[in-house]
Symmetry: C2
Subunit: 330 residues, 2 copies
């Protein structure tokens, strides 16, 4: 049995989702991978839980940090420095202004000699080269499967199982909220506003829905894929972005008459996010809040992978997959 | 640079496809994986090419074996024994009567201490436990990504990138010929016979089309997935099989009126291959000769992967992926 120590940074929806899955999966990790993952610290902006023999995750999920015996008022960067973990799991919310505080968490973790797993898109979209340079100098790895496509193992599919291929392009539906809205408009013959309202009622769209419907979220993922998988060096301003706000029901209906649907597609080669007309029987025509990504490869042909693009539990599948990969190497 | 020696057994469509891709990918293998794959023997039932410094694959693709200076009349089992390869790539046609000659090739290779990569479904469907026992005793591995789903990296997706998940079921479209026929019937409003004829004209269906349209090919894949991934110990007779021969155009049209399509679905948990009604916007509703497989997982939710299910070049992507994985371990 190999013990690997984790420090979880960020204990919102994603962090709590991971804690629950880690708790649930202890047996599987032991049995299938010979691993014991011990969370030695959970750091939040209001305080932290620190215990080198393992934070009690089920209690952390049920009670306030401040009422736990493991509570510490230490700041996150100090927790990272002092926690003696093998790996930091950075799960704070994204901030597309400057990538903070996630960016500092990631860089500090690498400087302290720890691997990093993150679900935080902003630091990667804004500072990919800087982060990777830092990782190289530290001789450590940064893994980020959860930043694109939620539960879909896209990055590891690309790197691991299609390793004989040159991937010529990556494109697809990278945002579940807009896919839900467009599917709703097509299937229930309703206008954008009504579909958006339903997405909000179901918790799929924020009250500030611009980030999703104007295509920014998809564009951020295009930037990450371009830099991480396609060897580009681009930033958000290099991506042409058109959202779905101006798509009327009439347009959707016109597409339907031509046996087609309208989907918001991110295209890595073209550095473009825009509504595209897709034939009804195309692998990218998937309904609801799912994501679907096509890899255009030189030997395998087109490979499409579809799955849940968000959600704390589903995202944990990708985060934990990265953790296991790195834990085996530690 | 690490040199790994291969012996290719079988030089029909799949073997020739692999030889062409190996020739094309030498640079990528060197650059990306630090590997030099040297084919020290190519064995066919009519004779072999043997050269410990590397068979000239581009010449082998262009001329008769018997006119090559590397020609040997040695029998395949003797070539396997004497070729001194690290790995045998078994690509002979399947034979569901007794798995031969592929079964003997695989067992002999393992007994001689070599890893095996195969695209041959029959030995795995008929003698999975025997093959795996032999591999365990020999301390060697048998990899078979190409046996299910052609270019789709299904088995490695399951084993590698969803490793935090329990996969509760695997089901989907496992045969491209029947998918082509059913898609044609739905899209062009034609009857089974006409769609079958077109599949034959395009080379998608054999003159003896029973193996595909009666669901046997899908059932063989269900058996492989059940034994290899779901821990079962089943054989072909355990699978209930209903093919698509009796599906009329009227049935397809009735499904369409209910916004649905009919697909031949293999279901690993149910050990069943049968035509099923699928909603039009379901991820398994893919058109043409593609395959699509859903993994029902406990953390990631449903993950669907779609791609080309056959073809010598596309299948080589899976074969070469297995070869690279094993070559790194040799």
């Amino acid at each position: 049995m190999k013990e690997v120590k984790l420090c979880i940074v960020g204990f919102g929806n994603i962090g709590r989702g991971l804690a629950a899955v880690l708790d649930e999966k202890q047996d599987l990790l032991r049995r299938r991978h010979g691993l014991k993952l011990t969370v030695v610290a959970v750091a939040e902006k209001d305080g932290s839980l620190v215990n080198e023999r393992g934070v009690d995750l089920s209690r952390a999920l049920k009670t306030q940090f401040s009422s736990c015996p493991e509570y510490s008022s230490m700041k996150t960067l100090d927790v990272i420095k002092s926690c003696n973990a093998d790996m930091v799991v950075e799960l704070t919310p994204g901030n597309m202004k400057n990538g903070e505080p996630g960016l500092s968490h990631i860089l500090r973790s690498l400087e302290c000699g720890m691997h990093v797993v993150t679900s935080n898109k902003a630091p990667l979209a804004l500072k990919y080269r800087e982060i990777m340079d830092c990782a190289r100098k530290a001789g450590r790895e940064v893994r980020f499967e959860a930043t694109v496509g939620g539960a879909i193992p896209l990055i590891n599919l690309y790197r691991g199982t299609l390793q004989a291929n040159e991937v010529r392009n990556i494109y697809g539906i990278l945002n579940g909220t807009t896919n839900f809205i467009l599917s709703k408009m097509a299937e229930e013959c309703v206008d954008f506003r009504i579909a958006l309202k339903e997405a909000q009622e179901l918790g799929l769209a924020e009250s500030d829905y611009s980030y999703d419907v104007d295509g920014i979220d998809s564009a951020v993922k295009v930037v990450i894929l371009a830099n991480a998988l396609m060897g580009r060096s681009v930033s958000l301003k290099d991506v042409r972005v058109v959202g779905i706000r101006d798509i009327t029901y009439e347009t959707v209906e016109l597409a339907r008459k031509h046996n087609s649907v309208i989907k918001l597609v991110g295209d890595v080669n073209e550095l473009e996010v825009s509504p595209r007309i897709i034939p009804q029987n195309h692998p990218l025509n998937i309904s609801g809040a799912l994501n679907a990504v096509m890899l255009d490869t030189d030997v395998a042909g087109d490979i499409t992978i579809t799955g849940v693009g968000a959600g704390p539990r589903e995202t944990s599948s990708s985060v934990l997959s990265d953790i296991i990969d790195l834990a085996i190497k530690v």
